[in-house]
Amino acid sequence: MTDFRTPLRDMRFLLYNVLDFETHFARLQDRTLVTRDLLDPILDEAARFSETELLPLNAVGDVQGCRFIEGAVATPPGFKEAYATYVANGWSGMTGATAYGGAGLPHSMSLIVEESMTTANMAWTMYPDLSHSAMNALAAHGTEAQKQQHLTRLLSGEWTGTMCLTEPQAGSDVGLVRTRATPNADGSYAITGTKIFISAGDHDLVDNILHLVLARLPDAPAGTKGISLFIVPKKLPNPDGSNGARNGVVCSGLEEKMGIHGCATCVLNFEDAVGYLVGAEHAGMRCMFTMMNAARLGVGMQGVGLAEAAYQRSLAYARERLQMRSLTGPQNAEASADPIIVHPDVRRMLLTQKAFVEGGRALAYYAAQQADLAEYGPTEGREAAEAMLSFLTPIVKAFITESAFESVNHAVQIFGGAGYIEETGIEQFVRDARITLIYEGTTQIQALDLLGRKVMLTGGVALLVVVGEMHALAQTCAESLPRLGHELQRIAAEWASLSMAVGGRAQADLNELGAASVDYLMYSGYAVLTYFWVRMAHVAHQKLQVGNDAYLAGKIATAEFYVARLLPRAEAHKRAIEAGSGVLMDIESAAFDHS
């Protein structure tokens, strides 16, 4: 089951027709100008690399997984060679500053290229993903010397990166971190503690790994205000830049996980490891958030990629698998049965996947534009772009992964019993996708972030911008696509008023925030996806005036499906939000223990 192609048509439709990335790129400052002549070959080359180098390693990575042998991690066969090709092709430094050896492309380019790769092989793509997060943190907060010494190695692909936050007692509650950093006489620090769930924490793709570690200085304040960020290389560099002695950090074991078996999830023990402070003392959380925000967009993109991969396979299967006759009479009379794509419920499952995948991709690309604009856009618009990015990030991370998990389960269901069998290759997507709802902040954490910090704390400034865009688009399509325009207008108005109402209640009762948050996030996801579906349908409608095209017709039909069959779920979330916190909080804690 490797019948899979990078969805270049859909990617280009968004990039060139819906979101006009050509104009977007032309507005950016301090970045290499991305024209269509540059972008098209990058897309093609990323697709080729993903399909020919990464896709063949996806199943083997799952079956063999990483192995922990005599204190070191061995990645699955082929991973190392694919990484070498990746580096040789120059992908690793794509978005880094030219001053440090990067190609200077905007952020969005790495997200788009990573989509291609993660669709083919999520577990493998996590290694460069984590490097990318570390690059972002160093670029934003490192000293010039640190950039020269470390960022250059990450951009060249010689080293990879990690993010070391979680400890056994400190997961969502990062403030409970215990790892200690003691100042050394030479200005460095001795880092001691245990970190768990460290993706790509040890492996054999490269000789050196740059860990970014959260730790506490002596006498640091308690909680998140007392956490600092440190660079801890696996091997200490010699003065000439070559890799020297092993630092005091070892991988003591790998987790046996539900999925992403090709990605090493490590327990890392730091024992007086030499570390170097990044940014100010006690400002570690803020530095880490730089990399976490980009990582959260990346996780949303993993959701898009996995859902795309599973959608394509289930679509191919639905076209080939013969089983039962159409309810309206045989469609394939010469064979023993009809292809299952004739059955309405199979179509419902395919369309649900298509709606989530393509809608999620549009949302993620839009957010990626905001990431470009927040850093490199015209100065006067940067603050607004930052606000928009902050607002959309939890939706991208949590709604896309939640809907992707539903999506990949539909794909398995279309395969029937064959879907449950490893060799078919489809159940892997369910196991791989499941982590995306958990790591980089669970859906719950994203939901609190969205409602508490991004809506209530800001007065909903970015939300109102999106709502405004929705109203404007609804007007534009009022005549060409009346039902879509009407639904868009309705949900935009309702989203705004619901946000006001829930914000008001949460000010008065702090439990309301947590009680409403996940339903609010899901509601917001359905609302914002309406926007992108109508946008896509609107563009498709315009282009269809000049001639028939199945792909474009599919955009309009999927938009219609979306508003008729998926958007109604928003109403259930709205009612749940309006039910308030009492039904959650009035019950005694002890009652949960009863069984």
């Binding site: 398995v412 958990i438 017709a553 779920r569 959650l584 009652a591």
Partner: protein, 584 residues
Amino acid sequence: MPEYTAPIRDMEFVLFDLLHAERTWQRIPALAEVSRDLVSAVLEEGAKITAHELAPLNQIGDQQGAAWTAGAVTTPAGFQQGFRALAQGGWLGVAGDPRYGGQGLPKMLTIALEEMFYAGNTSLYLCGTLTVGAATCIANHGSDAQKTLYLEKLYAGQWTGAMALTEAHAGTDLGIMRTRAQPVADGTYHITGTKIFITYGDHDLAENCIHLVLAKLPDAPGGTRGISLFIVPKFLVGSDGALGQRNAFAAGSIEHKMGVKGSPTCVMNYDGATGYLIGEQNQGLAAMFTMMNYERLSVGIQGLGTADAALQAASRYAAERVQGRSPLGPDNSDGPADPLHVHPDVRRMLLTVRAYNEGGRAFAALVGRELDLAKYSPDADERDRAERFVGLLTPVAKAHLTDRGFECCVLAQQVFGGHGYIGEWGVEQFVRDARIAQIYEGTNGVQALDLLGRKVLRDGGATLDEFIASMRAESDTVDGLYAAAVNGAIDRLEAVTRRLVARAADDPALAGAASVDYLDLFALTAYAWLWGRMAGIAPDDAYGAAKRHTAAFFFARLLPRALALQASIDADSATVMAMSADSL
């Protein structure tokens, strides 16, 4: 490793307080001697063997998995002893025919027992449920000689059962199967063909394995009307019940699966194997449906049992794991953080699982009651009505309990955060194990089409109306707080159904387009009715208080999903059918 305690208190509440099982049993001669004391004692014993014999093997079963070597299957370490406990304790014959060594106890009771066994160890209990299912099929369709030969051994777990339907090209569409049955002069048949996905098709848990195989006779009509059912034992059985020579079939391999790894899923090659016709020629599918209906309800219970095991693990974790502070200020100021269950959204997840599990437990018991009435009621009209209700409710139980079961396992896993993704905590196994229940014994899409197409639309909604009337008739104990919501939900189901009946007349695609959402709406309505009644009769103690809180949660936060389902059902079937296949 997750620990599991059977929810006996809730099971007894459902049986005796909600459904008044004793009253039903007393007026049915075949069940008149079943008392509350007896049932309670059986539940206690079932809980014990679950805790001591089944649950401790669950995780090791997943880690080791079943293995295939040289044509034979070995089960994970300890499974033999666990199955022996089920067999020797008489747990497979609880509802069996007393004339052949069964105990003749009601289905309502075995549903509760099955929930425990699945919760304790789904992979192992699958062998039990297939054995009971095979016995049920033989009891209903076998000759007296076949019953005498097989039932006692199956009830005793001395032999086990397997059902062989699926072939590589024939899954949902059984009519296109190719396995052949060639008549032999002595009245037996030679069965030749390959079946796939045969659960416990081969194993080392018992001395014999009785396959029920669907196959086609020479010159049989095409499609499902040309399928016959055969008993095909692994070891041939003499007329005295003694085991004879090995029959001509074997497991060619086993599948590597996402979950239920302790349960061997076999490719079975029948190479002129000796088979015995059960029931009439070409009537095999009807006979098999007896077994499949039994198994469908049982698979629904599997979804419930797994979800309850997951809930217990998550509730415990939420009480023990400290992370973050309550929004209202520290709740556990001596500790570094508060327990997870102070967080509103953790409560939302736990309450969602709980509301679905307890609603599902009541719904499953209701199906059990109708099965008992259909089988044992002295009143022919009551039997017929119960039979219709069983037909209506079985696809709902299978699909809804497993869909929600999977959703609930995923929510329980979410409570564990990163630890939920790691094998050693045992909770991700529940998710992997639960996933199959949405697929096998007829995918949930097939169940939904059965409900809407065959059980609702085919008689113009008459059976559905009858069930709605029965809900309205049994609404006097609904808590006043929820009376309007319950009535509104029932009215909504009725109105949506009326519209579907009217629209379906000239839209053949409608049933398929609306079926899955319709099944969910049906279930949610029935759950609302059951939750309203449970809230109304909940006792004045801590258990009853939790019950009422969970009811409040259900009505406020879960029942609104009916609005989304209604809108989706009311949508035109063109929303799924209009698009050309090329546009997908």
